[in-house]
């Protein structure tokens, strides 16, 4: 089985937000929730870079470690998913997550945040693959259909890569060699405790 990862090549990202839009549309993510976002660092200054960020599906995920009800699980593909039936909306995963991935539908409502929502790597949830219940709670399960996450597929500059960690790391390495520079695999060290040597 492949170990699925995301990689955003910041030297290619043009902050078009197609990944954000694709994600919202594919999973019918409610208003106010963003499973993916594009953050621009040093906006308007020399060396500005934009990075598309969502759940990185960490190795030894902090969210899963701190969850008081243990509602997270890691799939055979290394995708970190959770059960909305078990989630109590306490917000602890949000404190622990290095990437600000967990989202809540009712933030600030006397602490009743509602069930946590986050990027599923287009892999749905614990319900039967492709079922109506799964779609309503977690969105589309593209992985079960043999497809990769839509955000990366829609990326206009192929900056955002999603798939087998080894393969996307190789693609990135080749790019860096060819163009002669690269600002690094953002978030990899924090999420996977490794980075791509270039």
């Amino acid at each position: 089985m492949a170990r699925m990862k995301f990689l955003c090549d910041a030297d290619r990202c043009i902050e078009c937000n197609a990944c954000v839009t694709a994600c919202k549309n594919e999973h019918e993510v409610p208003w106010g929730i963003n499973r993916r976002r594009v953050v621009t660092i040093n906006d308007g200054k020399p060396g500005e870079r934009s990075i598309s960020m969502a759940c990185m599906h960490c190795t030894d995920a902090p969210c899963a470690a701190v969850c008081p009800v243990n509602c997270f699980y890691t799939t055979a593909d290394g995708v970190v998913l959770h059960s909305k039936d078990l989630c109590i909306g306490c917000g602890y995963c949000f404190y622990a997550c290095p990437f600000g991935a967990p989202q809540y539908p009712k933030i600030g409502n006397f602490g009743s945040r509602g069930k946590m929502d986050k990027c599923t790597f287009c892999a749905g949830g614990p319900e039967a693959d492709g079922s109506k219940e799964e779609y309503e709670k977690y969105g589309a399960n593209r992985l079960a259909e043999g497809k990769l996450p839509l955000c990366a597929e829609m990326c206009s500059t192929k900056s955002l890569l999603a798939g087998d960690g080894e393969i996307i790391a190789q693609i990135y390495r080749e790019r860096v060699v060819k163009r002669g520079y690269g600002s690094g695999a953002w978030g990899w060290k924090t999420a996977y405790r490794e980075t791509i040597e270039s």
């Binding site: 020399p46 902090p62 039936d85």
Partner: protein
């Protein structure tokens, strides 16, 4: 002259255009190193331990790209807090059981006199018990968040544990309001009797008389009770403030503030629980006649004499003065 200036302008323009075209040719572009000025993840993390930028979606808080501090918070929650809580609470339980077995219940040495005196009025007892009931539910639901996953979840299973934890979370959030009101009432009601004074020094020197059969004098509240009072007021304020900060995310602070709030909230809370165990012990099986004070509000005069001698004297002088005032008034009315 004018035609010469025109020629020079034209020549300059053509030259500038040629320069721009050559500059955009790839072979020259490769000599410029675009990475030289690019932001570096490692550098940004080393500077601030977080990376923040601009987002174009309405949720501006999502501008925090990376905050690896979350991993330290995880370490606190899963390791440090469990140690602090475990040692404080189990340590206190062990100490109390050992104390009970060695010392036993602090009995009324003179026995009951049969005469009683009012110690706490109805409103005082209401405020105490409202705070106390809330505290017990808050403590159980709070400990469930820290210790439920390793201890209770394996026993009752995922579905039941989630259901219980969901209700516990609602109880924890909503009972915080009467608890906070209770702490405020306690603060105002008993502030007068809880200012430390010289008598407390003597009381502490004699170990509160808890070891042996000593009874150091005390006013309405002895130094031990004053300690409990200030722990409730200060600890209660700390858990309330940090708790509300977590209940209303991003109103008071960003993510790092909420992590700090969770740390303070949890440490104060587990120590609070440990102290309250001792308070419950001494108020029930630890001392004969103590529960009545908060139960019916009436205590035996001998109990008051042994544990709050100066308070009893005060009350008796006050009662005598009242009697002296009311008696002539009564005769005059006849």
């Amino acid at each position: 002259m004018a035609s010469l200036a025109k020629h020079i302008r034209l020549a300059l323009g053509a030259w500038a255009l040629a320069l721009m075209i050559t500059a955009s040719v790839p072979s020259i572009a490769q000599q410029i190193n675009p990475t030289a000025s690019a932001v570096k993840e490692q550098q940004l993390l080393q500077e601030l331990n977080r990376i923040q930028g601009r987002v174009s979606i309405p949720d501006q808080r999502s501008g925090v790209l990376e905050q690896p501090a979350g991993r330290e918070w995880r370490e606190f929650r899963n390791v440090t807090l469990r140690w602090i809580g475990g040692v404080a609470i189990l340590g206190m339980l062990v100490a109390l059981v050992a104390f009970y077995l060695i010392r036993g219940m602090v009995r009324l040495q003179a026995g009951r006199s049969g005469r009683t005196i009012v110690r706490f009025g109805a409103f005082e007892r209401f405020a105490h018990w409202m705070t106390a009931t809330c505290f017990i539910i808050l403590a159980i639901s709070g400990l469930n968040i820290t210790f439920g996953r390793p201890l209770l979840l394996p026993l009752i299973g995922h579905e039941a544990f989630s259901e219980w934890s969901q209700w516990a979370k609602y109880a924890h959030n909503y009972l915080s309001f009467p608890f906070t009101i209770g702490v405020v009432l306690i603060f105002l009601m008993w502030l007068g009797g809880n200012i430390p004074n010289k008598v407390d020094v003597e009381w502490i020197k004699r170990g509160g008389g808890i070891v042996g059969h000593d009874h150091p004098p005390a006013y309405r509240f002895n130094a031990g009770q004053k300690a409990v009072y200030w722990i409730v007021v200060i600890g209660g304020a700390a858990v309330a403030i940090t708790g509300y900060e977590l209940m209303f995310p991003f109103y008071l602070s960003g993510i790092e503030g909420m992590q700090m709030a969770a740390v303070v909230h949890a440490i104060v809370a587990v120590l609070f629980v440990a102290v309250m165990l001792a308070h419950i012990y001494i108020g029930t099986i630890g001392m004969q006649g103590a529960f009545e004070a908060m139960g019916s509000g009436i205590v035996d005069v001998n109990w008051a004499k042994e544990h709050h001698s100066l308070w009893l004297e005060e009350e008796e002088t006050r009662a005598a003065a009242k009697d002296a005032r009311s008696k002539p008034a009564a005769t005059a009315a006849e």
